[in-house]
Amino acid sequence: MKEVVVLSGKGGTGKTSIAGCFAALAHDKVMADCDVDAADLHLLLQPVDKQREEFWSGQIAHIDKSTCTKCGLCEELCRFDAIHNFQVSRASCEGCGFCARICPVNAVTMQDNMAGHWYISDTKYGPLVRARLGIAQENSGKLVALVRQQARKITEDKGYSTIITDGPPGIGCPVISSLSGADLALLVTEPTVSGVHDLERVIEVCRHFNVPATVCINKYDINEEKASKIEEHCADVGIKVAGKIPFDTAVNRAVAHGVPLVEYDEGPAAGEIKQLWKNIEDLISPD
């Protein structure tokens, strides 16, 4: 089983549009949407949900007003600045339970936290696992790990060969969780100062976690000089550029129609993405 994760550092470079095309191009695969903050892949794959599960993770402190003597010790000791006026901020509480342990009158209890949902669905391109983290929740990394675990299980059960993961932007918790142990990271970038800067950081993350990476420059013709710079940088650090996709308004039109670009259009961007997938297949094939 091979797992390809699509990442970018910078958001909005085209991860989901490309992952959606891979869903249409790859055979015997399971799709995993690991952008649990703002999952969008289902907007292209039109899934029918088969299973919906709650995601319980961590705890949140709760102060019982009738017991609380307002001594203020919890507020003083909380390192996350999560307690004000004897009330807990759900957004800031990190669930450490310190306050519950030190409250002299046992007014603080730790309550289990329902942090989101995850779904298994069917699409015309095969199974999709995705999730929705609740607003202001932490532990996105754990939910990502759960999505990947479910995707792996389905892949094994069906005897499939490939998992394609649409990853989150950034370099923090959910990205690390999407990346660790994957077989290949496809880093989608764009030829802008931000794209270059963020690509360099996400390449470092791949290094750090020992995951081989390859790069795709999306909308390369918006700024060909910056695109060549990216190619030079990749050559310097020994990373292959597996694809260069031209700016093509068909990409937006395909999104507006809710279908993967390669199913919608046969223009220049669609052609390049087909070639990109062939290159990725070569990179993950055993020989």
Partner: protein, 286 residues
Amino acid sequence: MIISIASGKGGTGKTLVATSLAISVSAKEKVQLLDCDVEEPNDHLFLRPVITTSETVSIPIPKVDYAKCNFCGECARVCAYKAIAVVPGSVLVFDQLCHGCGACSYLCPENAIYEEGREMGVVESGNAGDIEFVQGRLTVGEAMAVPVIRRVKTKINRDKLAILDISPGTSCPVVEAIENSDYCLLVTEPTPFGLHDLELAVETVRQLGIPCGVIVNRAVSGETLVHEYCIREGIPVLLDIPLDRGIAHLYSEGVTLAEGIPQWQDAFTNVYTEIKEALHERSRCA
């Protein structure tokens, strides 16, 4: 006043809006720009600030004084993150799992735990022309952005207009950054992805009780998806920035819209005026 620039979806133009708004308003008022997207901070690429101070952000993690420790295991029991394991003759601390809550050191019966800082990132401050500039930068390989964001936010000066550039998403780092803002500008694009993620972002700011307005970036005439949603929800659309190769090229070179096409400065100044009026109206009604 604190204005946060956010979006559910990444790459919709938060950096473009934050930097151009800062430049436009700084002609008349004192402005701070704080880049809270500590995973991928980009504002510096456009404002090219002179950084004058840099401070390390660390969280306190436990160290064991073996002269005092009797391996009772209380520290491991009180750790909610399973960051400590006590085995005969040794206490193992898994630094990456520790949130630095301090429970273990406080609750150790032998007072055998002291704390040392573990570096998570840096906060850099300086100036870009008249704009006071602050940014956080998470160390590559670190998972927890929140401590770095918290430190950036300690630099907020309420006597100035503080513009916060937020990371994409709706989870804890985003909420940590937006909390206590007076207003949230949500930047989106007129696609189904943009709309879907805008809905999530609106839900987030409403939960926090922060008033919001929308800027539609890469607007295309006839693509009215986002505008229709905003009318339904009673959210003002404060500005449309058209899908335009010239604007995209400026961005790609690291030139702000307010400097590349100075006529845009009026548009951003107007956005600020509308926000001030909306907040004034709100406080009058309250």
